[in-house]
Amino acid sequence: MPEVRRFRARDTPHLCLSAGALRGIAEAAQRLRGQRVVFATVNTAVAVDRLVKDYGSARAVDGVSFEVARGEVFALLGPNGAGKSSIVEILEGHRKRTSGTVCVLDTDPETAGSDFRERIGIVLQSSGIDPELTVREAINFYGASYQNPTATNELIELVELQDKADSRISTLSGGQQRRIDLALGLVGDPEVVFLDEPTTGFDPAARRRGWKLVERLASQQRAVLLTTHYLDEAEALADRVAVLAKGRIVAEGTPAQLRARAGSALISFVLPDHIDTVADLLAPLSGEIVGRQSSVQITTDTPTADLAHLTGWAHQRGLELEGLTVTKPSLEDVYLGLVGDGDDGGRVDAVDAVDLVDETLDQSGSDLTNEGEGVS
């Protein structure tokens, strides 16, 4: 293990550099000295660098790097088994990492103690609540573990359980129990909140209210790290999204940037049955071909030219392309393209991903939540 030294922006007040520039310096230093340099701006709450986690011979997390700023909602989006929970549990101090550097609130969670846990809030899928207690008792008990707990009544109101405040937790529905989870994650007034699939089991209305709550957390300058496999949740909540597949980040950026990655249009159609070779059809297209079976999807920035070619090809042969549509790609299209096709999940190359990070970090001084991307 090389020596790890940390430099913080506040240690060098005469220096005023953007996060992108800092990263450049860090990379240069690493090239020169062979040293690992982790940098963090004052605003950074979570910094993860080349994180690896193995379970036996299986690699669950394979070199993941990202950062979360205060006041930012960062989503790890991916299918089950992509490594989301492993990453979050390493950041919470629940698990040990195999290699890489992890820094949460200037602390290494692996060796951190009570002081660290004072400052983080955890909402896990896999953690239960004593079924014998009432809602109020549970919030009182866990709250009193912190030095400055939020008032119990305030939290009960926040998660809208006033009617159930004195009911035993065992008598509550699954969704209601998840809302106590949320309350218990926030009771210590945390600076960083980890939300592991927080709205699983919520009905649509409760889900919307849960989202409002998360937005409010970010507006209170807390850093929120969210894992989800709901695309609409990532799109609605996250300032930035990292798409995870097989333990790697395959794309990272604002939801708008990810959508832009898919090109300006998505052309889909069904290939006629008797067509064996489609090379002459597909080769000249400028866009990226997503679907590869009989149902073809092409993401493209030049839909007019590609459509002209497609329809010309079909018209020449007297074929009708069934289900031919041109649509604006959704985040889901991008996502499925990135994680769907099994082995070729790593479509976005590393340099590309770093560029995206830098772009976003450069803006981190400004208000990240005002990206101007209306969420429908």
């Binding site: 919470e92 101090g93 629940h94 009570s114 002081d115 846990r117 004072e118 983080i120 955890i122 896990l124 899928q125 896999s126 953690s127 239960g128 609540i129 004593d130 079924p131 014998e132 207690l133 008792e137 008990f141 866990y142 009193a144 573990s145 912190y146 030095q147 035993r168 529905s173 699954g174 969704g175 209601q176 129990q177 998840r178 218990l184 210590g188 699983t200 089991g201 919520f202 009905d203 209305a205 409760a206």
Partner: protein, 281 residues
């Protein structure tokens, strides 16, 4: 330093209170720990009569035999079975994992579970002894009271450590319940608790009983109440064996105890199905 300690002790006290509250809301635990041993004393005395018989403690009444033995059984089941099952269940439900993610010191949480079990054990033993003395004229002497108290403390400490070890090895409720019963119940039969074997017991059973701690806990406590034993009636050798078991339990627990829910195929899907049960408003 001092303030850290006082904060820690305050947290410990909160944890003890919480565990007690949960205990009284779990009727099945309260029944098996407190009511069941008393029921056995009443039944045994009713069935066998309260006459004198020759026991390992000399010629005593059957209630004089059963009262301290069943008191020890209540103490052992409150600590060993109680702690073992409670912690396995909390682990399985992910409650231990939640606790580990808060600033609550782990020692305060586990200390709360242990000391609450010891408190319940003290209630069970007191109830048993009071009933024995009041209803059956069981012998109790002020000069031997220190021996009773010290034996109780050492015995419950030992069985509490073994309860922690049990929950470390049997990591789910479905493992901890049979494991606790399969160990404590047979031992109660060969440790002069349920059955007054005296000296007629086959030697191999006697040897097995001597290896495990229940017999030593029972004998030491019974001698402290025995009308023929001389004050102060400390059974130092038996207490030493109990302390040895305390060390064994603590070693196993310190190596094997886990706050993480065991990874079982059914667990996450069960939790999900519970969660997808909807949000009844």
């Amino acid at each position: 330093m001092l303030s850290t300690l006082s904060v820690g002790l305050k947290q410990l006290w909160r944890c003890i209170c919480l565990q007690n509250r949960i205990f009284w809301r779990t009727p099945i635990a309260a029944f098996f720990t407190l009511v069941f041993p008393i029921l056995m004393l009443v039944l045994f005395t009713a069935i066998f009569g309260n006459d004198d018989f020759d026991s390992v403690y000399g010629r005593i009444t059957s209630s004089q035999f059963y009262t301290p033995g069943l008191a020890v059984y209540a103490a052992a089941s409150s600590t060993y079975t109680g702690i073992g099952i409670t912690l396995a269940s909390r682990r399985e439900l992910g409650i231990l994992k939640r606790v580990r993610g808060t600033p609550l010191p782990p020692w305060a949480y586990l200390g709360g579970v242990v000391l609450s079990a010891v408190w319940i054990a003290a209630l069970g033993v007191t109830a048993m002894v009071v009933l024995g003395v009041a209803a059956y004229g069981v012998n109790i002497e002020a000069a031997k009271l220190p021996a009773m108290i010290i034996t109780f403390v050492v015995g419950t400490a030992s069985f509490a450590a073994l309860g922690l070890a049990l929950s470390s090895l049997a990591r789910t409720v479905s493992m901890a319940v049979p494991a606790a019963n399969a160990t404590l119940l047979p031992l109660a039969f060969i440790s002069d608790i349920f059955v007054p074997f005296g000296t007629d017991i086959p030697q191999w059973l006697d040897v097995i009983g001597d290896i495990f701690p229940l017999k030593h806990f029972g004998r030491a406590f019974s001698e402290a109440m025995n009308p023929f034993s001389a004050a102060p009636a400390f059974e130092w050798q038996r207490l030493a064996i109990l302390l040895a078991w305390l060390v064994v339990g603590a070693l196993v627990a310190s190596r094997k105890f886990s706050w993480e829910p065991p990874v079982l195929a059914g667990r996450s899907s069960r939790r999900r199905s519970r969660a997808s049960g909807g949000d009844a408003e």
